[in-house]
Amino acid sequence: MEVALFIPCYMDQLYPRVAMATAELLERYGVTVRFPEAQTCCGQPMANSGFFDDARPVARKMIDVFESYPHVVCPSGSCTSMVRNHYPDLLASEPRLEALRGKTLELCEFLHDVLKVRPAGRFAHKVGLHQSCHGLRELRLGSGSERLVPAFSKTRALLEGLEGIELVELARPDDCCGFGGTFAVAEEAVSCAMGRDRIADHERAGAEIITAADISCLMHMDGLIRRDGKKQRVLHIAELLLEATA
């Protein structure tokens, strides 16, 4: 199977190790990985600031870049949701949009639903799972605590089979970390207060490692952890799975 990687701009520039882990993890499961080099960004920073006109041509570029690939996989719930759930607001009359929306999957979704893998390996650590909001509530990677539906979590399902892993129980399993894109700077006070509360929850639950399907949330929490001299380590789920299944 051939897959085109859609790597979020901030991950490409700041977290190449996560992007590389995503590629290697997919290759481990027999996937042929391509990286279309013309890609830049999905346009979410502009769209979430309200500048739909600036996001629109950037979104159109995404369609051009990925047009010839059968599957697009992205190690970010937020950027995947931008394409699947928010591009229709921008590109209502674009006939090629449906094809891109239909073939773009978040990494955990792709592993869980398409490859149907349940990673086997060893990861003897206490791990706190941060449920990034857009993956959880816009892509429905999990049931979420608000709705009364049978409980499930695709992210958790990928971790549960690992030998030695202890997934700690959080008091608030799906509260937002406060990153929120430009919100992190525009509303710095609230953003950091929210992040510290999340970290404290993981700390009380005894997590050594905080993992998530979005490195943006983890970048925010890690920034606070290191400034505050805390001990937790953050790992994107792709890195964790790659390390565990080595």
């Binding site: 520039q13 977290y15 502009m46 600031s49 600036d54 509260d175 894109g181 919100f183 929210m194 920034g223």
Partner: protein, 449 residues
């Protein structure tokens, strides 16, 4: 423009209050989770409620006329107000004509929104809010910070000090039971002396002409049972077609609001009681404008339960007063720009777009999506700061050119760590900057492609 970020910063600086507020409000969210868990049909109820409201709004003019006809037949009088000014004028006119100088009120976010209290007070009428939380914030000359729990930003010790000053309770008294009793005695005298009672309306039933008021304190009942004049103020969106539909909302409202199965008092008013008058004031105040906007009209389905406030992490970490409007939190940020887009242009940005509000809403309002749509509308109307617009334009130029993006990324990795601490780095470390981007590493990588 209301600067939510600046107001929120002040709130966050009081760390003890911040954590206490977050926990107190989250506790109510948890109570809601428990109350909902006993109804296996919860999600179907939400869908049904959403459909009933959507249906009613789609035939609003017909239902309003039916309601008026039935209400008149039941002996009530009906008044129509285009906006806040007309609403205040009508209410004042009713009071003035009957020589009323002492009015008791039960909770009504509509009158809060219309600024009724200061309007009447300026005209010599004593207005007493009889909901305990509302009375507390009224004593403090501040607006409610939550639509269901108006004084949730205050601790019992602060209320003790306030009641000592206003009601003469002993110094240091902070026992909630004793403080409530003091307020009860104080309010009892106000009820007995009132010449008119004003209530909000939770639901108006088109097929019967009745209005329904839900409270936990029975204050609406006392306020309407004693004085000879009852004024009920409602927005046009409060209508439901009939009593059958009402049942759906009564099952959702209290569970979503406070985690109770039903409010302690659910009072139905079909016409005035013998010898008294019932006046219903139906208010538009911007609502028909919202109804005209397809992408925003679902916001009119709101039943003011406050669940979106309780679940909102930004609300919990910034307090209701940081929003600067009568209705705080996600629903307030969605509604307020309709009334004054310029003044409230910052509110749709006071959100991480986490989506919890949308999933908790008992009438399935797409709250976080509407917040995003508002950002788009505000930017299109030139109501987003120029600096942000400039950054967005530059971003677009860079991101459309892969070479420029690569260069910009490289420069950012080199220079970002050298900048003085501000913005991101005031409280957070930057990630360690990698020497190469992923795309450079991928190009250099040996092995399977």
């Amino acid at each position: 423009m209301i600067d939510h970020a600046a107001r929120a910063k002040t709130f966050v600086e009081d760390e003890v209050r911040l954590h206490w507020h977050d926990k107190a409000v989250w506790f109510v969210r948890q109570k809601r989770d428990l109350a909902r868990a006993v109804l296996p049909e919860w999600e179907e109820l939400r869908t049904l409620a959403s459909q009933i409201k959507a249906h009613t709004l789609s035939r609003l003019a017909d239902y309003l006329e039916e309601f008026e006809k039935k209400a008149l037949a039941a002996g009530a009088q009906v008044h129509w107000a285009r906006d806040a000014d007309e609403h205040n004028l009508i209410v004042h006119g009713l009071l003035q004509a009957r020589g009323v100088t002492r009015l008791v009120k039960s909770k009504s976010m509509l009158t809060e929104d219309c600024g009724l209290n200061p309007y009447l007070e300026a005209r010599g009428i004593e207005v007493v809010d009889t909901d305990l939380g509302e009375r507390i914030v009224q004593f403090r000359h501040e607006p409610p910070s939550h639509i269901v729990m108006p004084a949730i930003h205050l601790r019992k010790e602060e209320i003790g000090v306030l009641f000592h000053e206003r009601l003469g309770t002993p110094v240091g008294l902070a026992d909630p039971r004793a403080l409530t009793e003091a307020a009860r005695q104080h309010l009892r005298a106000k009820f007995l002396g009132a010449q008119a009672g004003l209530t909000g309306v939770n639901f108006a039933i088109a097929s019967t002409g009745g209005v329904v008021v839900c409270t936990n304190e029975g204050n609406a009942d006392l306020g309407t049972a004693l004085p000879p004049l009852h004024i009920a103020c409602m927005g046009v969106e409060k209508l439901v077609p009939g009593p059958r539909e009402l049942g759906v909302f009564l099952r959702l409202l209290a569970r979503s609001a406070t985690g109770q199965a039903i409010t302690t008092y659910t009072s139905h008013y079909h016409g005035p009681r013998p010898g008294a008058e019932l006046h219903i004031v139906i208010v538009d105040h911007g609502r028909s404008g919202i109804l005209a906007r397809k992408e925003f009209r679902r916001a009119l389905q709101c039943i003011r339960c406050g669940a979106c406030l309780n679940t909102c992490p930004v609300y919990r970490h910034s307090g209701g007063h940081s929003y600067g409007v009568a209705v705080a939190g996600p629903i307030g940020s969605v509604l307020a720009p309709h009334l004054d887009a310029k003044k409230n242009a910052g509110l749709p940005f006071a959100s991480t777009l986490c989506g919890s509000c949308t999933d908790v809403c008992p009438v399935r309002i797409d709250l976080h999506h509407q917040l995003l749509l508002w950002r788009g509308e505000l930017a299109a109307r030139g109501l987003v700061p120029l600096g942000k617009r400039f950054v967005s334009r530059v971003g677009r130029w860079v991101l459309l050119r892969t070479w420029a993006y690569r260069l910009f990324g490289k420069l950012a990795r080199i220079f970002a760590p050298l900048l003085p601490r501000s913005g991101w780095t005031r409280q957070r470390e930057l990630p360690p900057m990698p020497r190469e981007s992923f795309r450079a590493q991928w190009r250099n990588r040996a092995g399977p492609r």
